[in-house]
């Protein structure tokens, strides 16, 4: 259960949003909409605890995420604009390390098959620097395959650079997660039909 | 009444305004007295002749250079911990004065070194650590200057200030830890001072003069910083509207 109360965020002289409040119970997906620069990324980073808000609180199951600290981090995955991939490592290596970092230990074969499921078997052993824009994004997103146990997913423009199939596949994954009682917060400018109901939040 | 209300720039700005003239005045008076004692009352030193009179500038400057750094680090730390805007501003306001004091200590010391040690500069522990102090001040200021977002600048420079604080005890005790050219503490609370009382009084008066000066200047700078940071705030607008 994610609760946001009276959240406001300022960047430099601009107030992006003020006094924002909403709650997300399990099995709900929130889709943050808004023009470029309306503050979607800023909001998501605050929800993930990466940035601080000018005022207001973010609570997870009743307690402030600041106080929860690492406990909250074991409940959450964040995929931002940046892919967090190392150019010199192969897709498999990147996936393994990314998961290890977020405290999820997986075997190499597991990574391999997860990549294969996402249609990336051919490039599983290429250094990421050689991959195409969309392939990189997809490698970064493959992490989600192992994050079913984490209730809260925060995804910033996950569909950007993905081709049709990849979009569909990701949408299905999100659908499954929400179906299993997970919570998803995402932004996207693309008109993808997610195949499940989303609560909407419009920033101006 | 709660003291916290003073931690708001809006409240503190006028208070600082009223305090500045007093400290400035005190600084002026004390400096005159101190220099008078130092250059006319105090006797000529039997071994160093007149050169020793530099002490009336050198020692106060040297002490302030270290003390101001500690105060700066303290406020920066408070700002980092409780992110109270005002304390970070205080830290920024203190830095240039501290750097100036350090520079004066180095400069006068070097001038003093020529007659007494026969050289302007030796790479001895105290001199070196004092030089490091200057670098730390410069680093603190350029880091703060290099970051546009004030909130981030405060925090980042605070971390640096705290890490650098380790250098101050090194400066102070360097004379005891290593056998340096530089002489050890001749003034201490535990034992009787090992210098002529007139010299001592003169020096102490100058020390207080430097204190007053530092406080006055820092407060003035603080007021500028407050205005600069809060220029968008309502109260500043009103102040200039009215």
């Amino acid at each position: 259960m994610l609760e946001v109360t009276a959240l406001s965020c300022t960047r430099g002289e601009r107030n992006l949003f003020a006094d924002l409040s909403f709650g997300l119970s399990p099995g709900i997906a929130l889709r943050v909409r808004g023009d470029n620069g309306s503050g979607k990324t800023s909001l998501l980073r605050i929800l993930a605890g990466l940035a601080g808000a000018a005022s207001g609180e973010v609570r997870w199951n009743g307690s402030l995420i600041r106080d929860l600290g690492e406990e909250f981090l074991t409940k959450m995955v964040f995929v931002g604009h940046a892919n967090a991939l190392k150019d010199d490592l192969t897709a498999v290596e990147n996936l393994r390390f990314a998961l290890a970092l977020s405290g999820i230990a997986v075997t190499e074969p597991a990574c391999r098959s997860a990549l294969a499921e996402d249609g990336l078997e051919r490039i599983a052993d290429l250094p990421v620097q050689w991959l195409s824009q969309g392939q990189k994004r997809r490698v970064a997103l493959t992490r989600l395959a192992f994050c079913g146990s984490r209730p809260l997913w925060i995804l910033d423009e996950p569909f950007s650079a993905l081709d049709g199939d990849a979009v569909a596949r990701l949408a299905k994954r999100l659908q499954r997660h929400v179906g299993d009682g997970g919570t998803v917060v995402l932004t996207t400018h693309q008109e993808v039909e997610l195949g499940f109901a989303t609560q909407g939040l419009e920033l101006h | 009444m709660n003291i916290w209300k003073y931690s708001s720039p809006q409240v503190f700005y006028p208070i600082a305004g009223t305090m500045v003239p007093w400290f400035a005045g005190a600084a002026a008076v004390l400096t005159v007295c101190g220099l008078y004692i130092g250059f006319f009352v105090a006797p000529t030193d039997f071994q160093q002749g007149e050169a020793y009179r530099i002490i009336f500038i050198h020692v106060p400057a040297a002490w302030m250079s270290m003390f101001i750094y500690l105060v700066m680090a303290f406020w920066a730390g408070i700002g980092l911990a409780f992110n109270t805007r005002l304390s970070s501003m205080m830290a920024h306001a203190l830095a240039p004065t501290g750097a100036l004091m350090t520079f004066i200590a180095l400069w006068t010391g070097a001038l003093w070194g020529k007659p007494t040690w026969g050289t302007y500069w030796v790479w001895d522990a105290r001199l070196t650590s004092e030089l490091i102090l200057l670098f730390l001040y410069i680093g603190y200021m350029s880091l703060a200057a290099a970051i546009d977002d004030p909130r981030r600048a405060d925090k980042a420079s605070a971390v640096l200030a705290l890490v650098g604080a380790i250098n101050v005890p090194i400066i102070y005790f360097s004379v005891q830890w290593w056998n340096t050219l530089h002489q050890g503490a001749s003034v201490s609370l535990t034992r009787a001072p090992s210098m002529a009382t007139t010299m001592l009084t003169g020096m102490l008066v100058m020390v207080f003069a430097f204190w007053m000066y530092s406080i006055a200047v820092s407060l003035m700078r603080l007021r500028h910083i407050i205005l600069e940071r809060e220029r968008k705030a309502a109260w500043v607008r009103e102040m200039y509207a009215g």
Binding site: L50, E70, A84, L85, P127 | S142, A156
Partner: protein, 226 residues
């Protein structure tokens, strides 16, 4: 929990070392920089053996110091640019420990090689056997301190105007004590004096750095990500 922490750190260290080995560029440049910087001195200063021998400790130490400082540029910068640092901050492990791990890996790939090659360079400058030993030991204790202190500067300057040069400005002053005691130990043994003092001080500094810098660096990283 604790096992998880160890696993995470192991993975992180393994990753950094692997990357360093993949792009040999970074490791080799630091290393060669050190070698060349030292070898330059006989050229810049002139070949008189006794003079070289006199300045040898200082030269080697300053070169090591500058080399490890050059390497700092790559400690966090790429991770910051590609979003990995973000993920580190989001890892359910104390960031200070993760940072410490990164610094350790960084030292393994940039600091240790310097220590290993240093006796050769010392010889080249005509240091006698006992001085060589002391040189190696002093570097072995000293270079980790350089990496630790440096990490604070590197983190503070992330994404900041001023880049590597600003880092240098911030950390070099803090390096000076290490330099004084490190080089001092070697000169002392050359002069036939005791070196216990310098080494105990170096040790003390290392402990202090280990105890404090990880927190400072972690704080700086969080600030940079804000």
């Amino acid at each position: 929990m604790n096992a998880g922490l160890i696993r995470t750190c192991a993975a992180l260290a393994a990753r950094d070392v692997m990357i360093a080995l993949r792009r040999r560029a970074d490791v080799l440049t630091t290393f060669f920089f050190f070698v060349i910087a030292v070898s330059l001195f006989p050229l810049g200063v002139g070949p008189e053996p006794e003079r070289l021998q006199e300045i040898a400790p200082g030269v080697v130490w300053v070169a090591a110091l500058l080399a490890s400082m050059l390497a700092l540029a790559r400690l966090f910068a790429t991770d910051f640019a590609d979003g990995t640092l973000e993920q580190m901050a989001l890892a359910p492990q104390p960031l200070s420990v993760l940072v410490l791990t990164k610094v350790a890996a960084h030292w393994l790939t940039t600091g240790l090689p310097l220590v290993v090659i240093s006796p050769v360079l010392g010889l080249q400058l005509g240091l006698p056997g006992d001085a060589l030993q002391v040189l190696v030991w002093s570097l072995l204790i000293g270079t980790p301190v350089l990496s630790l202190i440096g990490s604070v500067g590197a983190a503070l300057t992330l994404g900041v105007r001023g880049g590597g040069a600003l880092t240098a400005l911030l950390v070099l002053p803090l390096y000076i004590p290490v330099l004084i005691f490190g080089a001092g130990a070697v000169t002392a043994v050359q002069a036939g004096l005791g070196i216990a003092g310098q080494f105990s001080l170096l040790g003390a500094i290392l402990m202090l750095a280990l105890a404090t810098t990880p927190w400072a660096t972690a704080a700086a990283v969080r600030i940079a990500l804000e």
